[in-house]
Amino acid sequence: MTGWNSETAARLQDLARELRCDIIRMITEAGSGHPGGSLSAIDIVTYLYFHLMRVDPANPGWEDRDRFVLSKGHCSPAPYAALARRGYFPREVLWTLRDVGSPLQGHPDMRKTPGIDMTTGSLGQGFSAATGIALGGKCQGKDFRVYCMLGDGEVQEGVVWEAAMAAAHYRLDNLVAVVDNNKLQTDGATAEIIGIEPLEEKFRAFGWEARRIDGHDFNAIHEAFAWAQERAGKPHAIVADTVKGKGIREMEGDHRWHGLPPTREQAERFLKELGEEVAV
C-alpha cells in the first residue's frame, strides 16, 4: 500500500466525484439501473481500485491479484466506472450499459467484463463466492486479498450467514467484507423491512473482527482498511454507514432511487450539482 496524506484523500474524493458523474450518465443512457446504491458505494470502490488493491489492468486475470467481489451486484455501475477509469476498458464502453451486445451486463459478469472477478447479482451468493476465493487463495498459499461489498438489505439473505460462519471457521484473514450500510432497500427503510442491526455484534458473534465507519470519509475508510490488513486469523467486517444517493441532494436518503434511472433533465441537473457542465 502506498502512503497516505490529506492530498491522497482529496485526490480520491475528486476521483469519486468524477465516477459519480459516470454513474449518473451510464444509468441515464441505459434507461434503467440502480443509482442510489451505486452512489453510496462509490467512495469505497474508488478507494479500493485507486489506492488499496494490487491489480494490473493490463492483466485482469493475473492470478495473484487482489479481488473485489460486488455481492450487491445491482450496483455494478460503481465498479464499471472505476474499471474504465483504471484502464480495464475504454470509457465509451460505459455508455453501452445494459444494451444487447454490451460487455456491461445489468449485474457483473466475470466472463464479459475485464476486471470483474466474480459473476454476482443474486444477493448473498457473491459473498459466499468471495469466501470461496479467499479459501482458494489460502489453501494454495497465495497472499492475495479478497474484498467483498454487501448491501445492508442483502444481509437478510440466509446464505450471507452461512458464508460468514465458514469464513470464520476457515480463519480467512485474507477476506474483508464491507457492508454498504445505506439503510434503505427497495421497499423502504431496512429497519422497517427486516431489521439487521446490530451488525458489528452479529459479525463478532460469527467469529469476525468488526468495526463501523463513515463510508464517505476517505480518512476513515483508509484507517479501517489498514486495520483490516491485520492477519489475526479472523476475517474482517467493515460496516460502512453511507447515504443512499450520496452526492446528489435530491436522491440522498430517498429509497425510491434504489432502482430508478434519472430522466435526461434530472441527469443534467445532477451532473451540474456534481460540478459537470456537459449535457448528456
Binding site: E63, V69, D109, M110, R111, D117, M118, T119, G121, S122, G124, Q125, S128, A129, A130, T131, G132, I133, A134, L135, G136, G137, C139, Q140, K142, G158, V159, E162, A163, M165, A166, H169, Y170
Partner: protein, 330 residues
C-alpha cells in the same frame, strides 16, 4: 469390478484423481460418510472442505474456489444439491461456466426408508434446464468410475447423480466411455429401452424377459442425459417400433422428457416413460419393493414395451401399412 454402490466407487475414484491432480479439492455438506467423500478426506485432509449443513454456501464457495484455478467437486444428497443449492448452481456456477462438479448421491427413491424429504425425483429435470451444464447418471460401478474420471477432464459445470444401493456390474471393465454417447448393452430392433442410473439393470432384466416372448429389445445405457445422444435416439426411432424410457425420477422433465424432446425433433415415434408418475413416493423398508410399489421396475418396463408394440401395430393398421415394418421418418 464388483457389485457396489456407485457412491463407493465415486469415493474411491476421487482419491485416484486426487493423487493425479493437486488442484482437485472436495467440498462436502456433513454427509461425507454417506457420499463417500470421506475416502478423499482421509487421504487429502488439506484439500477437503466441510461446508457443514449449508449446501447453497457450499456450491457458491466452490464457484469462488474454481476462479482461483482449483477443481472443486461438491457432494451432498441429490435432493439438496439440486434444490436447496439450486440457484447457486445455476447463477454462480453454470452462468459463469465455472469448472465445478456437483456429484450428488441418493438420486431417486433409493434412500427408501427416509421418505420423500430425502428422495430426489426432480433433480435431473431441474439441472438439465440450466445452460452450460452436463448431466450424468451412471448405472454401474464401471461407468461410475469412467464417468468420474471423464468429468474431471471435462472443462465446465457438471451435475452427476449417483445411487445409494448396491449396483450390479453391467459393463465390462474395459468399457469405453464418452460423455454424451449412450452405450448399447443389448441389440434388438423391435423396440429400444433407454434407461439411466439404477434403471439400466432393470432394463436388461426386462429385455431378457421380452426375449422369451420373441421380442427383441435394444437396451441403451443413457449415462449422459445432457447433452443427450441424438444420434443413438435417431437410430433407435428409425430402426425400431418405439422407445421405452426408464428412470428412477419423476417422468416429468427427466430422462423421459429429454428423450421425447430429442425424438420429437429428430424422428417422431411412440415413447412410453417408465418412472414415478408425477407423484411423490413414500418411505419403504426395502428399496426394490418401493420401486415395485411405484411401478419403477422391470415389470413396468415390460408392460410399457408391450404397450409400445400394441400402439405401433394399431397405428400401422390405421395407416394400412404392414405391421412391424419399422419406423420411417422423413
Amino acid at each position: 469390478m464388483k457389485p457396489e454402490p456407485t457412491r463407493v466407487v465415486y469415493g474411491r475414484t476421487l482419491v485416484e484423481l486426487g493423487e493425479r491432480n493437486p488442484r482437485l479439492v472436495v467440498l462436502e455438506a456433513d454427509i461425507a460418510k454417506s457420499t463417500n467423500t470421506f475416502q478423499f478426506q482421509k487421504r487429502f485432509p488439506e484439500r477437503f472442505f466441510q461446508a457443514g449443513v449449508a449446501e447453497l454456501n457450499m456450491v457458491c464457495m466452490a464457484a469462488g474456489m474454481a476462479t482461483t484455478g482449483l477443481l472443486p467437486f461438491c457432494s451432498t444428497f441429490a435432493v439438496f444439491a439440486s434444490m436447496r443449492a439450486c440457484e447457486g448452481v445455476r447463477t454462480s456456477i453454470c452462468y459463469p461456466r465455472l469448472n465445478v462438479k456437483i456429484v450428488a448421491t441418493n438420486g431417486g427413491v433409493e434412500i427408501c426408508g427416509d421418505g420423500v424429504t430425502h428422495q430426489a425425483v426432480e433433480d435431473i429435470a431441474i439441472t438439465r434446464s440450466f445452460a452450460n451444464i452436463a448431466v450424468l447418471a451412471p448405472s454401474d460401478p464401471v461407468t461410475t468410475r469412467n464417468a468420474t474420471l471423464a468429468i474431471a477432464e471435462y472443462d465446465g459445470p457438471v451435475y452427476m447423480r449417483l445411487g445409494r444401493q448396491t449396483a450390479a456390474v453391467l459393463h465390462p471393465d474395459n468399457q469405453a466411455f464418452e460423455i454424451g454417447s449412450m452405450i448399447r448393452l443389448r441389440r434388438g430392433d423391435d423396440l429400444a429401452i433407454v434407461a439411466c442410473g439404477n434403471m439400466v439393470e432393470q432394463a436388461l432384466v426386462a429385455a431378457a424377459e421380452l426375449d422369451k416372448e420373441g421380442i427383441r429389445a435394444r437396451v441403451l445405457d443413457c449415462h449422459t442425459i445432457k447433452p443427450i445422444d441424438r444420434e443413438a435416439l435417431r437410430a433407435a426411432a428409425r430402426e425400431t417400433r418405439g422407445i421405452v424410457t426408464a428412470e428412477d425420477h419423476n417422468v416429468v422433465g427427466g430422462l423421459g422428457g429429454a428423450v421425447c424432446e430429442a425424438v420429437a425433433e429428430e424422428c417422431p415415434t411412440i415413447v412410453r416413460r417408465v418412472g414415478l408418475q408425477d407423484r411423490f413416493a413414500s418411505s419403504g423398508r426395502d428399496y426394490r419393493k418401493l420401486l415395485a410399489q411405484y411401478h419403477i421396475d422391470a415389470p413396468a418396463i415390460i408392460a410399457a414395451a408391450r404397450d409400445v408394440l400394441a400402439t405401433s401395430r394399431s397405428h400401422a393398421a390405421d395407416r394400412a401399412e404392414p405391421a412391424g415394418a419399422g419406423h420411417v421418418c422423413r
